[in-house]
Symmetry: C2
Subunit: 471 residues, 2 copies
C-alpha cells in the first residue's frame, strides 16, 4: 500500500477523533523538519534564538530531527542583541512569517495585547501553531484565541506565560490531571517579590526598594503592571482556567498591589511570625472559587515564605496528590526561553505524529465551554491583620474590640505599642476567621471613632493553623 | 473512503515515523473506552481504584471518554481494604489480566523485581502498555524492559516510581526538554528524611528516630532499602537516565545510608550552619557525571534544608532554566495513585490518537543506546565535614592539619571542643574543596596517629558558597 494513499487517510482519522479542523498538510509534512517563525526579537526572543542555535544537539536528540528557525521579525533590527543571526533570517515584517506556507509554528514574543492578538489570530487562520509567553494576551483574549485555534485544528501553547521556565502549565495540564485542585497560592511576579524581599530584609521603604529593583533590572521604569498585582492577576487567570478546566476569567479576580505598603506592617507581621508576600490565591469549595491577588501574611515556616528575591513559586493542594510546590526563576531571558522551546518540542512531536490537539489547550475536553462561579471578595472568610492608629488613651482597645466583637470578629493576638510614635500609637491585631464584609463594616465603624486616626490598615492572612475562634 | 481501509493504513504510518512495533489494533480501538487491568491491590493499588471510581467525572472531562477498570489481580483478596470492588472484577490470577485481549493498559503495583519483571514483560509481549510505580524494577531491569517495549510499540510509564505524585518525571522528560541538566539534588526517600528530621529537631538517636518512624507508619519493619540509600539510588538511576538521555546505570552509583549517623554530627553541622540530608546527587561536567547517594551537609538557608518529615523534593539546575525545585509527598496511597492515574490519562490520550511512543520512554530518541561515563567517587572534588576523636593534648590540631595540608586539603572552619567527653575530645572541621581520594588518604594517615581514636567521621558538603580554598 503506497504512502500517498496513507497520507490521504490521515485527515479522516483526525476529524472523527479530535473534533478539530481538518488539514491534510500535517501528514505531508511529517518527514520534513519543523520550521519556526519568531515574531519579537527582544530579550526572550534572543534566548529562544540562542537555544535553537546553541542547543541544537540536545533538540535533535530529543526529537530525532532538527527544529529550523526560518525567520525572525522585529521592527527594530539595529538594536544590540546578545545573539547574532544571518541577515537573510531577519525581517521587519511579521507578514513574512505569517504568510510563509512553510512555517509550521509561530512564536509570538512581542508582548502587549493589540498587535499580538492580531498576529496570533492571523497565524491561527493560516493553520499555524502558536507558542506565546504573553500572559496579558491570554488573560484578555485567551478564550477567543483558544476557541479559534480549536476550530482551526491548531494549538496555542503558553508554558512561558506563567512562572518562566517552571513547568507549572505542564503540571496542571497533565502531571496533576487526576486531581481536583483544592487551593493554589502563587508568587507569580518576580518584581513584586524582589521589592517585598528588600523591604523585609533591609527595612527599606517601598520607594527605596522599587529604586533598587529598577537599578538591578528587576523592575521597569513604569512598574504599574508588576507592583499593582495586574500581571499576577493575568497569570492567576491562566492557572485557574487550567486548574478548574474553565474559561479564563480575569474580571472576577479581586486585585490589590503592594505600592502603598508601609514597612511598619512588615515589622509587625514579623513579630507575629509572619512574612508578607504578594500572593495569587484561588480556592475551590466545590461550589464557588476564590480568585484574588493581594499582599498576604504567610507563616514564616511555610515553603512560600522562603521564596525570596525575584524567584517565583506555586504551592497548590490537589485532592489526591496533597501539597505540591514548584519553584524557580519566573522571568529572564533563558528561563523563559526554556519554556518556549519546551513548547516547541511538544508541538514538533505532535506535528511529527500528526496529532495536534492531543491534549486540549487547557487540559480538559470541556474547558472552553465551562465557567466557574466566583466567590465575591465580600463573602471571603479568612484571618485578618489589622493595624489601628489610635490616640494613646485608656479604653481604646476596649472600644475597638467591642466593635469587632459586634461584627463576629474574634481577636487571636494583639500588640499594643507604647508612646513611641508622636500623636498616635499602633494597635495591631491578628483575628480569627471572619467574613470580609464583616471586617470591612467593622473597620468603617472603627474609623469613625474620635480616638482612631483612619484609615485602618488591613491585610489577609493565609495560615492553616489559625482557623477558628477560641470563643 | 471507508474506515476499515483507513485502519489498515495506520500501521504503515507508525512504522515509518516511530520506528516502533506495528499493530493495527490501536486504530480499531480508538472509539472504544480504554480498559485497564491492575496487578497488585495493596495500598497504592487501592488509591488507584479509588481515583478510577471516585474521580470518574474529572477523568471523563479530561479525556472525553471514561477509563474502565476491567480487572484487579491480587494473591490475597480477603485483606481489608479502604475501597470495595464487585467480586467479578477481582481475581487471584495475573493471567486473567495479561491474557485478556480487551485490556489496553496493565498497571503493575506488586513491587519487587522478579514476578513484576515477568508480568511486565508478558504484558509488553501481549502488546499492552504498562504503568508501574516500581523503581527497583526499573533500576534493575529498566533497560531491558524499555527496549522490549520500544520494539513492541508499547509504552512503559513510570511517573509514580520517583517522588510519588510530584511530576518530576514529566518535568525532566518534557517540561525541561530544552535544557542540559547541570546538577540535580534529590531528597527521594521519605522514610530517611523523616528519621533525619526527627534526629535534627529532637536530638533523638538513630534507633529512637527509626522506632518513631516505624510507629508512625513511615518506616517498614525491615527499613534497609530506605535507610541504607538503596531506594534513593534506584530513583537516582531513573532521574539520571531522564536527565542525560542515557541508559539506567544503577551499579555506578556510590551509596551510603544513614543508619550509622551519630546525633553529635547533626549538632556540630548545625553549629556550622548546616543541616544533614540524605541526598541523591548527580552533576555533569560535560565529560563525566557524578552519581552518588549519601548523607550530605546542606546550608540551612537552602530550599532543600526546609524539606522536612516525609516530604520529598528535587532541586536541579538546567543550563537554560536555572535552578528549579519540585516538592511534595513522595509516597503514600493517594499521592502515588495521582501519578499512576496521570500516566493512565497520558497513555489513554496516546491510544485515542493512535500515537503510542509519541515521547520516547526516557524523553530522548537515542537514550536506550547511549551511556554516560561515571566519575568514580575517588575523583570527586567537594567540601568535607570531618570529625576526629582526639586525646585532649596540646599539638593535636597541628598534627591533624599538617597531614591534611600534605594532601592538599585546606581547612575552612574548625571547632575544637574542651574536656566534655571522657577519654577523647572531638575536633570538627569544614574543609575547602578537596579530592575524595586525598581526603580518604589523609583520614587513613590521621587514624594512625597515636593521639587519634579512629575512625574519623566524614560527610560531604554541598555548599555553593564554599568552593575554593583561601590559601
Amino acid at each position: 500500500m503506497s504512502k500517498d494513499k496513507s497520507d490521504d487517510m490521515r485527515p479522516e482519522y483526525r476529524r472523527e477523533d479530535l473534533g478539530t479542523g481538518v488539514r491534510g498538510k500535517y501528514f505531508e509534512r511529517r518527514m520534513k523538519p519543523i520550521q519556526i517563525g519568531l515574531i519579537g526579537f527582544g530579550t526572550v526572543g534572543s534566548g529562544v534564538v540562542r537555544l535553537l542555535t546553541e542547543q541544537q544537539e540536545v533538540l535533535a536528540r530529543r526529537l530525532g530531527s532538527p527544529l529550523i528557525l526560518k525567520k525572525v521579525a522585529d521592527l527594530d533590527l539595529d538594536r544590540p542583541r546578545p545573539v547574532a543571526l544571518p541577515a537573510d533570517l531577519l525581517t521587519t515584517r511579521a507578514e513574512d512569517i505569517l504568510d510563509d506556507p512553510e512555517i509550521d509554528i509561530v512564536v509570538e514574543l512581542i508582548g502587549g495585547t493589540d498587535a499580538a492578538r492580531d498576529y496570533v489570530m492571523r497565524a491561527i487562520a493560516q493553520g499555524k501553531h502558536v507558542v506565546t509567553a504573553n500572559k496579558a494576551l491570554l488573560a484578555h483574549h485567551g478564550n477567543d484565541l483558544l476557541a479559534a485555534a480549536a476550530a482551526a485544528g491548531v494549538e496555542v501553547a503558553f508554558e512561558a506565560s506563567v512562572c518562566g521556565g517552571i513547568p507549572i502549565i505542564l503540571a496542571l495540564r497533565q502531571g496533576l490531571a487526576a486531581n481536583r485542585v483544592q487551593e493554589l497560592f502563587g508568587i507569580l511576579n518576580g518584581t513584586a517579590n524582589y521589592i517585598l524581599t528588600q523591604m523585609t530584609q533591609s527595612g527599606a521603604s517601598y520607594a527605596q526598594a522599587l529604586s533598587e529593583a529598577q537599578a538591578q533590572g528587576f523592575a521597569e521604569a513604569d512598574p504599574t503592571l508588576d507592583v499593582e498585582g495586574i500581571d499576577t492577576a493575568h497569570k492567576l487567570a491562566i492557572l485557574m482556567s487550567l486548574a478548574y478546566g474553565a474559561q479564563l476569567d480575569l474580571e472576577s479576580i479581586a486585585v490589590e498591589g503592594i505600592s502603598r505598603l508601609n514597612p511598619l506592617d512588615l515589622q509587625f507581621a514579623g513579630e507575629f511570625g509572619y512574612c508578607l508576600k504578594l500572593l495569587a490565591i484561588t480556592r475551590d469549595d466545590g461550589h464557588r472559587v476564590e480568585a484574588r491577588v493581594h499582599p498576604t501574611l504567610v507563616p514564616r515556616d511555610h515553603m512560600l515564605a522562603n521564596v525570596n528575591g525575584a524567584m517565583n513559586a506555586v504551592y497548590l493542594t490537589g485532592d489526591a496528590v496533597g501539597p505540591i510546590l514548584l519553584y524557580g526563576q519566573g522571568a529572564g531571558m533563558m528561563p523563559t526561553a526554556s519554556a518556549v522551546v519546551s513548547d516547541l518540542i511538544d508541538l514538533a512531536r505532535n506535528l511529527k505524529h500528526g496529532v495536534p490537539g492531543r491534549v486540549p489547550a487547557l487540559g480538559w475536553e470541556s474547558a472552553l465551554s465551562t465557567r466557574r462561579l466566583i466567590k465575591p471578595i465580600n463573602d471571603l472568610v479568612t484571618n485578618y491583620y489589622l493595624r489601628f492608629s489610635a490616640l494613646d488613651r485608656p479604653g481604646v482597645l476596649s472600644q475597638v474590640s467591642g466593635i469587632l466583637g459586634k461584627h463576629n470578629i474574634s481577636i487571636a493576638a494583639v500588640i499594643q505599642k507604647g508612646r513611641e510614635l508622636a500623636a498616635t500609637v499602633p494597635i495591631v491585631m491578628i483575628t480569627y476567621e471572619a467574613r470580609e464584609a464583616d471586617a470591612r463594616q467593622a473597620m468603617a465603624e472603627i474609623d469613625q471613632l474620635p480616638i482612631v486616626s483612619p484609615p485602618t490598615v488591613f491585610y489577609r492572612i493565609e495560615d492553616p493553623h489559625l482557623h477558628a475562634a477560641h470563643i
